[in-house]
Symmetry: D2
Subunit: 354 residues, 4 copies
Amino acid sequence: MAGNTFGNIYRLSSFGESHGEAIGGVVDGCPPNIELDLNAIQKELDRRKPGQSAIVTQRKENDEVEFLSGIFEGKTTGTPIGFIVKNTNQKSKDYSHITDVYRPSHADYVYEKKYGIRDYRGGGRSSARETISRVVAGAIARQIIPEIKINAFVSSVGDIFIDKPYQALDFSLTESNDVRCPDLVTAEKMEAYIKEIRKEGDTVGGTITCVIQNVPVGLGEPVFDKLHAELGKAMLSINAVKGFEYGSGFCGAKMKGSEHNDLFNPDGSTKSNLSGGIQGGISNGMDIYFRVAFKPVATIMKEQDTINSKGEMVKMQGKGRHDPCVVPRAVPIVEAMAAMVIVDFYLLNNIFKA
Amino acid sequence: MAGNTFGNIYRLSSFGESHGEAIGGVVDGCPPNIELDLNAIQKELDRRKPGQSAIVTQRKENDEVEFLSGIFEGKTTGTPIGFIVKNTNQKSKDYSHITDVYRPSHADYVYEKKYGIRDYRGGGRSSARETISRVVAGAIARQIIPEIKINAFVSSVGDIFIDKPYQALDFSLTESNDVRCPDLVTAEKMEAYIKEIRKEGDTVGGTITCVIQNVPVGLGEPVFDKLHAELGKAMLSINAVKGFEYGSGFCGAKMKGSEHNDLFNPDGSTKSNLSGGIQGGISNGMDIYFRVAFKPVATIMKEQDTINSKGEMVKMQGKGRHDPCVVPRAVPIVEAMAAMVIVDFYLLNNIFKA
Amino acid sequence: MAGNTFGNIYRLSSFGESHGEAIGGVVDGCPPNIELDLNAIQKELDRRKPGQSAIVTQRKENDEVEFLSGIFEGKTTGTPIGFIVKNTNQKSKDYSHITDVYRPSHADYVYEKKYGIRDYRGGGRSSARETISRVVAGAIARQIIPEIKINAFVSSVGDIFIDKPYQALDFSLTESNDVRCPDLVTAEKMEAYIKEIRKEGDTVGGTITCVIQNVPVGLGEPVFDKLHAELGKAMLSINAVKGFEYGSGFCGAKMKGSEHNDLFNPDGSTKSNLSGGIQGGISNGMDIYFRVAFKPVATIMKEQDTINSKGEMVKMQGKGRHDPCVVPRAVPIVEAMAAMVIVDFYLLNNIFKA
Amino acid sequence: MAGNTFGNIYRLSSFGESHGEAIGGVVDGCPPNIELDLNAIQKELDRRKPGQSAIVTQRKENDEVEFLSGIFEGKTTGTPIGFIVKNTNQKSKDYSHITDVYRPSHADYVYEKKYGIRDYRGGGRSSARETISRVVAGAIARQIIPEIKINAFVSSVGDIFIDKPYQALDFSLTESNDVRCPDLVTAEKMEAYIKEIRKEGDTVGGTITCVIQNVPVGLGEPVFDKLHAELGKAMLSINAVKGFEYGSGFCGAKMKGSEHNDLFNPDGSTKSNLSGGIQGGISNGMDIYFRVAFKPVATIMKEQDTINSKGEMVKMQGKGRHDPCVVPRAVPIVEAMAAMVIVDFYLLNNIFKA
């Protein structure tokens, strides 16, 4: 109810502030007897961690996950998996200049109004460090359903976008560049643009596209818990996300029924896939794909006018080490959330199959 | 878990197929001592009902709601509100031609694969008649928080869209035309276009914009149950929805931080509102606004190729009485879902205020 | 959250007051393709209905269930099952004498204090008529798991009790007498005693024992949702219940470990079964048995002192037609709640088996 | 769903096995701005820890709680409180003799059958060390409602019981003796008996009574989430519990209505309190009291016959350091669970008061 639990059958309860002792969580509902590849989990954390490349924040955080329960002799036991990632490089001093100041388009103001108290250190719970728990839980989720392929990638940065359908892309190239864009020509342009933006002391938004393949028919629980509704909620719960569309998305709203309908092949697959792999809220066995919009990071290095807690106008300027563009590091987070949603419905779907 | 319950504190459990006895639901968690205006609830149902204008389906359904519990001497009692709307005009014959056929871009195929059984009468549970329960529950929700204003309207049909910010619109005009577009010049174009599309035997998509005003600061439960994440899920759970964006939305993904940040006024309000009234998942007291994309209705009057349950290719053509464009009738549904989300967080927020 | 939903996978949302239009509910999570025997469901309602014998209340209520959705051509479809039972014989006049009076050991006082409003007609939502929804949902549940046998019976009335282990009883005799006690000699004594009590204008308490056989190993979700913890909650949620014990129960608290331990047979069954079929919160394949204590009905025909809503002392005397002893009619309710708990865990257990 | 989360508004998600890295949990829904007395929390852990007296297990475990989030400058922030208690003194060697053996009346057999894997070290998740998380979460809960007094005490051990109503007891004496029985004469007998039982290599059961005072009218959510139903579930979820009764309990089932009814005083309080402070599932402002039955500890030092995983009969004898009687250490656990239930309803009740 208080907002820190995600999922029904496969369920993450998350905790931790950016400058507290640790970020962590409890995964309940993981099936037993899964042989966990702990390195693969750590690798996902490494994909989201700061300091990994020239175009992300240069903070150094090792973000090593420690598992505290639920695993015995390398296998899951069916009991809850508790884990923590210690906060080792948090410099609370970096935030002393904002103790009393509400940063524009940050959550400082609303957190203080809602809770009547403010943990001003690095955004506290509203920090993107919170997504560490998501990445761990998502990485475990993926190992439950290794046959289902989840590939996210950066599809646009500012006005620069991939001008191809996802079918024309080679996902194995996503990790070959710092932007995480599998179209290498576009990736180069994006990277140059991000560097330019950073030099300006500014930030820029972008989009991530995610493709999920090999999903069995039948996942999703209409009428409220439709598969795409849960995917949408999952994505919108990620910091900085402003929009979600799947299949034809907003373009579909301009089309005619005769253009939009996906005609069947005799085997139940469809000739086109504007439905995005989901019909009536239930997976139909075709590729699921969706797109997520991220706003530009709110912390910029330019001077801005803002207010303090007394309602006085003050000047402020971003300090510390921040991302000029959030999407490269958000790719593993999108994948993690998608994995949690898919596993949740996958397990739920077993109920009536057994 | 099985997908027919929405909300946490204010909770709707919905039931009913298009051609069964009745559509209905149970609203649990409605505060006691609310004087219910039953006419206002019926009026919302009338806004969504078929046959109300020349540009929607010409089926005649009266859709009168009967309340069975939870109301005593005109007031809510705090106990669950059970209600039904009888299905009076359902002609099962109309669907006899598709008993065995999977309609393209409908839920027929996935329902049969998921449940191993198919109620072929009018789409069964996947029919848009299911949204009747949403409209009733949403109309009750609105009466709990009359001070909060929720206005949805049709913002585009096909390529025709309102070319103004919502602040330039007069919401009192929304109901003045059949399209439910408050910009009358645009409304006229939309109406003409929908009639043309219908004449072609085709259908067309559109978007609905929703504006929520007078929301107190503090609604939303990060990190997973962010206010916009729940709004997004609510909207995506409506039939035919393909996308959701709030505030700057997908446009925000193209912007720079220096352009996108909403600077504060001394009283905590913001000069711009690209955040869409929500920061860090919590309402900040500014207007909340979002946009929802609807695909074109899948049932068209043109002949289409499709398959039957034996995997044989067959020809089919839409019969019966269907909407050429879903958005005019979806306006009250969008408002209802928004109302349920807002009330749920509103009540939850009381917990720590008392 | 507001207390009118029971279960996780197999979930009943219940509504209805004793003197409103109808009692009803929504069952969500029922597996598809179950051929429902509707007569068997009605039969369970008949077992709980008033006026069925000389030792229960003489009110006449037919309590006929109408199904509104979720069933097509005799089979469940996997969509929610909505149902209602109309209130046909409710005489609100019977309650006019208590409009303003709080009856001792009834819920009148607390409902008014909690909700700030009182539906004084026959107890409103706190009436035992509410259990109608439970009986319907439980009767459906039993048809999902016909192989699991659930038998409840009256094990004591006042000081009269069955002095045999349940293994010595023939459950087929439970319905042979009005008390629902399978030990016929004891049944006769109980019946005579209840008639005597009724003549006195008094009421008396009793206990019900329930035996569940053929449960597979593995139901129950430690550490909080242990099988017996959910059974206990289910039973304690029934009107008038004051206690629950399973297996050795309160007697077990007097025993030594060397006496209490259930030693294994080579096949994993146990020689004794003081554990009551549940170890560590998980079914072990042995018979599950538990006992439920019901207090005497609060409405007596003798004059009592009480207060009205102004805090004035007033005299009152029960009117209307009430049960001298609640346990005979509570037998099908205990079975229904047990069935819902078992089905819920049964379906949940499928998740990790598939 | 997988059983390791307790509560709705105030919610504990628990993890940890007896011989893993740590026991811990996440408390979500704790109101902000509570000044936490961390020593008081540690003190509750000390009340449950092994080795604290001559009549409990002599294992040495320090059980020091570390808080990882949700607290800033001594106050709760409204964000989730993550905590761990490291397992420092677990000797896995002690369990090497049961790797392959199912201990009678333990959870070994059912865990292996349910999960298909067994963490044989000290019972794994079924170990009573799991209750550490409950005690921490309960100790926090008590600080949210300091005005509500929760006092549990040992009311019987074997056949020895306190022969007085709780009103005649001085709860300040509960901690004055190792048994946690506030009646000192009885306490002495209990202690002598437990020592005798331990000398025999045997164990013995007992009961705990809990009294909750100063509860406001209105807590509890009928019809399913009645206050006593949730208290019952909470207690039954504690290891070794076999029964729960509140107010008149099983004795009430023998009484007449004319004896059992609690007559009102003009102020709404009642002259007697056989209802146990709860009417219709809602607190009525009177003392809440209930009794919990604990079976004897299953691990005895006498030789027992049992089976191994191959179904072979083997001899086994308890090793390690175990409790001869569980109730003295279970007193803080009962109080903790009661506190969590009360806080949960207390917060929920605020929703409709604000």
